[in-house]
């Protein structure tokens, strides 16, 4: 019994030591705009998904009240499970830096006028106040995320999407319609 407890402590300590080492190793892989690694972004997204895994699955219905109530319940559950979540929990400074490099090279480099035009054609909104765990601004148009940008970013699992809101780059839970995290001022 005691041996089992000791083993658990050892494994936990090893994890504490080795995980940052592993993350540090990934970060040292000299990411560039052409070949970004995005650090432990995928793990952080995975942790978020685990947290909402127990949420009941959506189903189609003609009853809009039912869809609205399920969305509200899901959002409330996620807020409770992530109480204390703050901007930068997923888009850490290191991860944000890599996203910013890719966003800027997609939108500001040579031959990027089409991508900028995509955003303009998506009826971009002016500045909106965002908060983590806050509702995605209701009634606002979805600004089209340039497909050439999506091609260069880490793919997201179902239920999550990148959004552009004003100048901010947002990670949204599309079922709960919640802001999971965002990079303020990421868009030129």
């Amino acid at each position: 019994m005691r041996t089992g407890w000791c083993t658990s402590v050892l494994v936990f300590c090893a994890g504490i030591i080795l995980i940052p080492v592993a993350i540090g190793y990934q970060e040292k892989a000299a990411p560039t705009a052409e070949n970004p690694t995005f650090g432990d972004f995928s793990q952080r997204v995975g942790q978020y998904l685990k947290l909402r895994k127990s949420a009941p699955g959506e189903r189609t219905t003609k009853n809009q009240e039912e869809i609205r109530d399920r969305r509200r319940a899901l959002a409330q559950g996620i807020r409770q499970a992530r109480a204390g979540a703050k901007q930068g929990d997923i888009f850490t400074p290191e991860i944000s830096e890599q996203f910013l490099r890719v966003i800027r090279s997609t939108l500001q480099g040579p031959n990027t006028s089409n991508a900028r035009k995509t955003i303009r054609q998506g009826e971009p909104v002016s500045t909106v106040h965002l908060s983590v765990n806050g509702a995605y601004p209701e009634g606002l148009p979805r600004t089209t995320v340039p497909p050439t940008l999506l091609l260069r970013l880490p793919q997201l699992p179902e239920r999550l999407a990148y959004r552009i809101v004003g100048h901010d780059f947002v990670l949204e839970d599309t079922e709960a319609r919640l802001v999971i995290d965002f990079i303020p001022g990421a868009l030129p």
Partner: protein
């Protein structure tokens, strides 16, 4: 005074007769046995009287052209998305069609909530992009607001698995070709989607977004329709270009389409019932288009 009344009466009679004869004369969809018949609407979900009037006109035409489904080209609901909004901006305007068993298949526009995919009336089965088949016509419905690699891979797989003798029709919100002054062509989407459409033999594409009607001359063998004025309207916003085959920006409109074998017949109808464009497309590879 009496003369004025007589002239007024005559004018009313004449205008009614003219309107009737235009409809009767121009309504020329063949309604062939076993054909695939549908309507197309875009940018409609305002809840304003004009949307209701277009819907009423669609129902009127449904009596002579019994289409079985409607493709929705996005911006299905503007503004609020409360349960009452869904009634006011969808269920009530199209009640007569819904009651007649007409089905609606929605694409998401930039004003739509992704959770509309769970709304059973939109037949999206919980998916932001999906495909369905009617007769010999395969429809591929995209979410052009979020064309990520996953969606592109899905599209290629779906197109590859479509039957070689099927019509392949794609629809989504943002137009690859548009002479609308407000938005214009979505050139970035075009650079990504057009090669895929060509590779897999897509014949026809429907979009909305610019609040006018436009039929574009075939581009690299593909026919493009833009119907973004079934509720919203930007009057006078169409700047006809070399690529414009036909257009209408004076009033709201909708499209009616019939596919029978290798022929696709179409008519664009205004809110007041005028036929503003019509023609026949023969499936590329078999023959050509005849516009009127």
């Amino acid at each position: 005074m009496r003369t004025i009344r007589r002239v007024t009466f005559l004018l009313v009679v004449l205008s009614v007769a003219l309107s009737f004869s235009l409809r009767a004369q121009d309504f020329s969809l063949p309604v062939k046995s076993g054909s695939v018949r549908f309507a197309a609407i875009g940018d409609m979900g305002t809840g304003e009287p004009a949307q209701y009037e277009v819907a009423q006109r669609m129902f009127q035409f449904h009596e002579t052209f019994p289409f079985t489904f409607v493709i929705m080209l996005g911006d299905n609901l503007y503004g609020g998305k409360t349960p009452d909004d869904f009634k006011k901006k969808f269920e009530l305007p199209y009640k007569s069609l819904l009651d007649a068993g007409v089905q609606f298949y929605a694409a998401l526009g930039n004003h739509d909530d992704p959770n509309e995919r769970f709304y059973k009336f939109f037949n999206m089965n919980g998916q932001q992009y999906y495909s369905f088949k009617k007769g010999n016509v395969h429809f591929f419905v995209l979410d052009s607001d979020y064309l990520d690699p996953k969606q592109l891979a899905w599209l290629e797989k779906e197109l590859a698995s479509a039957g070689p003798t099927d019509w392949k029709i794609c629809y989504f919100h943002h137009p690859l070709y548009s002479s609308g002054a407000f938005h214009g062509s979505s050139t970035e989407l075009r650079t990504i989607l057009e090669p895929v459409f060509i590779k897999y033999g897509v014949q026809v594409v429907f979009s909305g977004h610019d609040h006018v009607y436009e039929r574009v001359k075939p581009q690299k063998g593909i026919y493009y329709f833009m119907e973004g004025a079934s509720g919203e309207l930007r009057a006078g916003n169409l700047r006809k270009t070399d690529m414009t085959a036909a257009g209408f920006d004076k009033d709201r409109s909708f499209l009616m389409v019939e596919i029978s074998g290798d022929d696709l017949y179409f008519q664009a109808i205004s809110r007041t019932g005028m036929v503003v464009d019509s023609g026949t497309i023969q499936r590329p590879g078999t023959a050509s288009v005849v516009g009127r």
